[in-house]
Amino acid sequence: MPAPAVMTAPNKRIGDKIAVALLGLSVVIIIAILVVIIANIAYHGAAAVTWEFITQAPRQGLTAGGIMPAIVGTAALVILMSIAAVPLGVATAIYLHEYTPAEGLSLAWKRFRVSKGRPGRRRLFFRAMSALLATVTRSAVANLAGVPSIVFGLFGLGFFIQFIGRSIDRATQPPGEVLWGQGSLLWAACTLALLTLPTVIVATEEALRTVPHDLREASLALGATQWETIRRVVLPGSLSGIMTGAILGISRGAGEVAPILFTGAAYYLPFLPGDVTDQFMHLGYHVLILSTQSPDVEATKPLLYGTVFVLLALTFLLNLAGVIIRSRTRSRSHR
């Protein structure tokens, strides 16, 4: 071989170096932004977070006191939202991944069309319909994930409160009384659950996909039904993946303000919510209030930093739990 073939042309080497430098720079920028945000909030916020701050209600027109009602309200909201979103999302994902035809709509429909006059045509028809349902559901999930969160808020107001809530009131309450047809923990949780659903569904499907086909076959070959296989093999094998996805979805939902703006979050409440029909304070909403509605900006500033700090800390804790569960699963599956 002639020598030039193994040598890299100088301009090629320079191009390589520029590419590496640009890629490295973008990484540095991302990390720098994150560090600045966190350092700023930690520096100003940590000083504001005292025992009183965490255990007391706001006082003196939001210029003193703590954020206890907002912490409790956020926790209650997240718990209710999880109860609504996780079972529904996991069930949808199980249906999509385990029960709908793997071959997809067009192939299932083609197989049905060419099956004229053969036995089992009815089964092929149901298969094609099931594939159609799966396609519709999947695109609904994908579109749901792309809807801006403020639209969810408006939808929650229109659907849950104005339609469902008012209907319940008309049926159960004396005329003129409003119990369900107003913003509340319940409707805010339902609205937020809608926002979280796509994340839970996609993450659960991903987790189900990691369970090897071999294991399903082994179970079926031992005389297990499909549901027994799902319950005893597929779900235990994907549980940590499902939990990780659910936690990440929930932690995203926990910080969202727009969906709860019209559906139950309160500006200021002197009492804690005691019922799902009560309104509630919320950390994210409290940040918005403190930064836009304060009568004394300077006095509010430490409180604002403290609130953001607590909100971020809670979200990070949730994310951290998700990451830990995921890494533990990984190390187990790569024995």
Binding site: L107, D214, E217, A218, A221, G223
Partner: protein
């Protein structure tokens, strides 16, 4: 240059060849197959298969890759049902019950017909729970029955002595050969009549392979065994009868010794002697 003799006489077989059974009356058929065809979508992959698989013997299915032997094996316990667009036509009957009759409960069928796969596939559970899986599915909760059956199954799969002290350890910690014997034990625990094995030793080293082969030989006293294999020495060593498949057709089916020593079809001889495949 390989000759037919090499396949049956090399390296002191772990198990003896069965006596020349084509001379005697064949034992009663456990599985009868009549004009069985199989389709993946529009593609016909099995063409008019006819054979009788005798009870408590080992029947080997051999043939080049893609000849339909695995598809045929999976048709016997209807594992192909889970593949989209797959369908069988014709008759496969086990103990005179038509496997493809509409009234057949597939779940019950698979409890009668155990299966061992090419790649060992233990559940990520303990050794004990792997063996107990089929029984738990069947609703058996009595701890004594579970304990006894787990031990009996592991003994039958020649694994008991190696794992008896660590039944609660993860099955995934076992070696490849042990995992495959665990899968055999798991299949035996639900007390099937027929055992289907899809290249059970193809991913194992020679020692582990020999153990599986010895096991197959032991098991045929109680079970009817159908085994797919790519290894012709293995077919010669463990099986009583051999069916040679090619391009979705059954080319020849006879007593193993006849297939290897004195095949009637030119195709069979060419394949056995390694002229193609």
């Amino acid at each position: 240059m390989t000759t037919t003799m090499d396949y049956v006489s090399t390296s002191a077989p772990a198990v003896q060849l069965s006596p020349r059974a084509s001379d005697v009356t064949p034992p009663p058929a456990k599985i009868e197959v009549r004009n069985f065809n199989f389709f993946y979508g529009e593609t016909k992959v099995l063409h008019g298969i006819e054979l009788d698989i005798p009870e408590k013997q080992v029947t080997a299915l051999i043939g080049p890759s893609g000849c339909g032997k695995s598809t045929f094996l999976r048709s016997i316990n209807r594992m192909n049902d889970i593949i989209a667009g797959a369908r069988g036509e014709g008759l496969i009957s086990i103990g005179s019950q038509d496997v493809y009759a509409p009234s057949v409960d597939v779940v019950a069928l698979r409890r009668r017909v155990g299966m061992v796969f090419q790649k060992s596939n233990p559940f990520p559970k303990s050794i004990f729970e792997n063996i107990a899986y089929g029984m738990r599915i069947g609703g058996i909760k009595d701890r004594r029955v579970l304990d006894e059956t787990v031990e009996r199954s592991l003994r039958r799969a020649a694994l008991w002595d190696e794992v008896k002290d660590r039944l609660n350890a993860s099955a995934l910690a076992l070696s490849g050969g042990q995992q495959q014997r665990l899968c055999i034990a798991r299949a035996l625990a639900v007390d099937p009549e027929v055992l289907l094995m899809d290249e059970p030793a193809s991913a194992l080293d020679p020692i582990a392979t020999q153990k599986i082969e010895e096991l197959v030989y032991e098991l045929k006293t109680n079970y009817t065994i159908v085994i797919v294999t790519h290894n012709m020495q293995q077919a010669a060593r463990v099986s009583d009868r051999t069916a040679f498949f090619m391009l979705g057709k059954l080319v020849e089916y006879d007593v193993t010794k006849t297939i290897f020593m004195n095949p009637t079809q030119k195709l069979t001889e060419d394949y056995i002697t390694g002229r193609f495949g």
